[in-house]
């Protein structure tokens, strides 16, 4: 032992502050984000995969696609960023499922944070984490395609953030609704596949098979992809898509919170 217990410099007990609304939310979010910075190799490997996808796959396909008025490389590049942030935003659900299985969730729920702050903090942390992941990819696309209008860039980042925030809510909802670990993996993977692939992120609706084209306009990834392209390429606002994104965020944060409370109170994680 390097020192005895009596050497500990103690002061009076200081209880957690009350009344602060944002501080616990921010701290919960920082916890999720700090985990990301402990594993920078994940960001690096994902960025490399993105670059390869862009300069090999997108470059190749864009030579095959010859449609008047469509710069497919540009279309694909922007859509890839949107698709990537959607995919990464789902990770928070896996984190929460794992925390519940390992009992870390019990610990987190004993902290002096209201349940609403907890949910918002986790969703915010997941969304900011996803944004940090895709910023390098966004910069690559912006440089390649010469997107330099600050308002357009701000609008596009807002779209990406809203999508990430909504998907973290969706992911949390699934994490607390599905009990079996294998079923959880399958369900989340299928949802991810459906909303990312049946979307306008990578392909225009006009070229989709009819059964995919029927679904794609309702995908939140389509809302984000269309709105981001409108901001970056058209320098305009796609209000319908933006409204769709906001509705997506509200619905799934609400559902995530509702399912979360019910699940915890039901003692499923005991």
């Amino acid at each position: 032992m390097s020192s005895s217990a009596t050497q500990v410099n103690v002061s009076n007990n200081v209880t957690a502050p009350s009344g602060a609304l944002m501080a616990p939310i921010v701290q919960m979010a920082i916890r999720d984000i700090s985990v990301l910075f402990r594993t920078p190799w994940i960001i690096i490997s994902r960025s490399l995969a993105f670059v390869i996808q862009l300069f090999v796959f997108a470059a190749l396909i864009s030579k095959l696609v010859n449609v008047t008025g469509l710069d497919f490389f540009q279309y694909y590049a922007v859509g890839s960023v949107v698709g990537t942030i959607a995919s990464i935003s789902f990770i928070i659900g896996y984190d929460i499922f794992e925390e519940a299985e390992e009992g870390v969730l019990d610990y987190l729920l004993t902290l002096p944070v209201s349940r609403r702050q907890f949910i918002i903090g986790r969703a915010l942390g997941g969304a900011v984490r996803a944004m940090i992941y895709v910023i390098p990819m966004f910069v690559i696309v912006a440089v390649l395609e010469n997107f330099s209008n600050p308002l357009s860039i701000a609008g596009a980042l807002l779209d990406l953030f809203l999508l990430a925030f909504g998907i973290t809510g969706l992911s949390i909802t699934v994490a607390v609704s599905v009990r079996n670990a294998n079923r959880f993996d399958v369900v989340l993977a299928l949802i991810e596949l459906a909303i990312a692939r049946a979307s306008t992120a990578l392909y225009p609706i006009a070229f989709m098979p009819s059964y995919v084209a029927a679904l794609a306009p309702f995908s939140p990834v389509s809302f984000a992809a269309d709105s981001t392209r409108a901001a970056l390429i058209g320098a305009s606002l796609d209000l319908v898509s933006l409204a769709g994104l906001v509705a997506f965020v509200v619905i799934f944060l609400g559902l995530g919170a509702a399912f979360y409370f019910r699940r915890v109170e039901g003692g499923v994680y005991a």
Partner: protein, 309 residues
């Protein structure tokens, strides 16, 4: 003060905690003993507002766990049985984040407190090591350190010295006592009789979700008539029942655990030959006989029918 008033928690058809009533006084160390599945963890998680009681009430420092959960959580710190730490973070970061969430300390104060506790627990040199790479004992100390650094009004330790070597165990016990001396109320859930006996002002015994006994260790020992236990190690023999030794009015209880029969009685020294003779007459092959004063373990066995290992 913590007041449980007929508190209960039901999960589906299972009553994890039933009709639990107990008042824990300020600045008291309460030892909570119970076999696995007795409901200790559920009880603590109800008190910490993680689970909502399905019956009865629980108040912590006068705050109702259902009506004022956020205020209750500000009073409490829990060190879990299995360490609940982010494996990817080091001990310093784990504690620093925990204090950010649970105290109003300034950054320098917080970091100083983390440093002090990590040094006291001999973890300072490993402060940056990811906790998933730590040994079970080190991880357990990080878990305990969260509450020792937090210094909450209500400190809960679930098996605080599991996986720890003897010097570390003594150190943690001292730090828990210091916490109490500073004004914290402490609950120690444990399976170790010596831990409960050495640390606690009172011991509460839970079994099958219910509180079956509470008192100082002396009071609990005194609940066993005469305060003596005859422990017989036996080979083959018939089923052991209470009426086996009915003819002796001094025998208050008979329990059998594995190959040992525990006879709780008065005047053991005088009765010993007669009891041995009676049991032999029933066909028991007695390998050894040991007469002793009642220990907390005997009390526990008497109330729960189980031994803690």
């Amino acid at each position: 003060m913590i007041v449980f008033d007929k508190a209960g928690k039901r999960f589906g058809n299972l009553d994890a905690v039933r009709d639990f009533s107990l008042t824990i006084n300020d600045e008291e160390i309460l030892g909570l003993l119970g076999p696995n599945g007795a409901g200790k963890t559920t009880l603590m998680l109800m008190m910490a507002t993680v689970y909502r009681p399905t019956s009865g009430t629980i108040t912590v420092q006068g705050l109702d766990v259902i009506g004022q959960p956020n205020d209750v959580r500000r009073q409490i710190g829990i060190a879990f049985q299995d360490p609940r730490v982010d494996g990817i973070l080091g001990a310093f970061d784990v504690l620093n984040w925990h204090l950010k969430m649970t105290t109003a300390l300034s950054k320098p104060e917080r970091e100083k407190r983390v440093e002090d506790v990590l040094k006291a627990l001999d973890l300072w040199d490993a402060r940056g090591k990811r906790t998933w790479l730590m040994s079970g004992g080190m991880k357990k100390k990080v878990e305990d350190a969260k509450v020792l650094a937090q210094r909450p009004k209500i400190a809960v330790f679930d098996e605080p010295t599991a996986f720890l070597d003897v010097p570390s165990r003594l150190l943690v016990w001292n730090m828990i006592r210091e916490l109490r001396e500073e004004g914290s109320t402490v609950i120690v859930a444990t399976n170790m009789m010596d831990e409960a006996e050495r640390l606690s002002h009172r011991v509460a015994i839970m079994n099958l979700g219910k509180l079956v006994a509470v008192g100082t260790t002396e009071q609990l020992k005194n609940t066993q008539k005469g305060g003596e236990v005859l422990e017989l190690t036996v080979g083959d023999g018939p089923e052991v029942t209470q009426d086996l030794l009915n003819e002796f009015s001094e025998v208050s209880q008979v329990r059998k655990v594995e190959n040992r029969i525990m006879v709780y009685l008065n005047s053991g020294r005088l009765l010993l030959p007669k009891i041995v003779e009676t049991l032999t007459g029933y066909g028991f092959k007695i390998d050894s006989v040991h007469l002793k004063e009642v220990t907390l373990e005997d009390v526990f066995l008497s109330y729960t029918g189980q031994r803690l290992e």
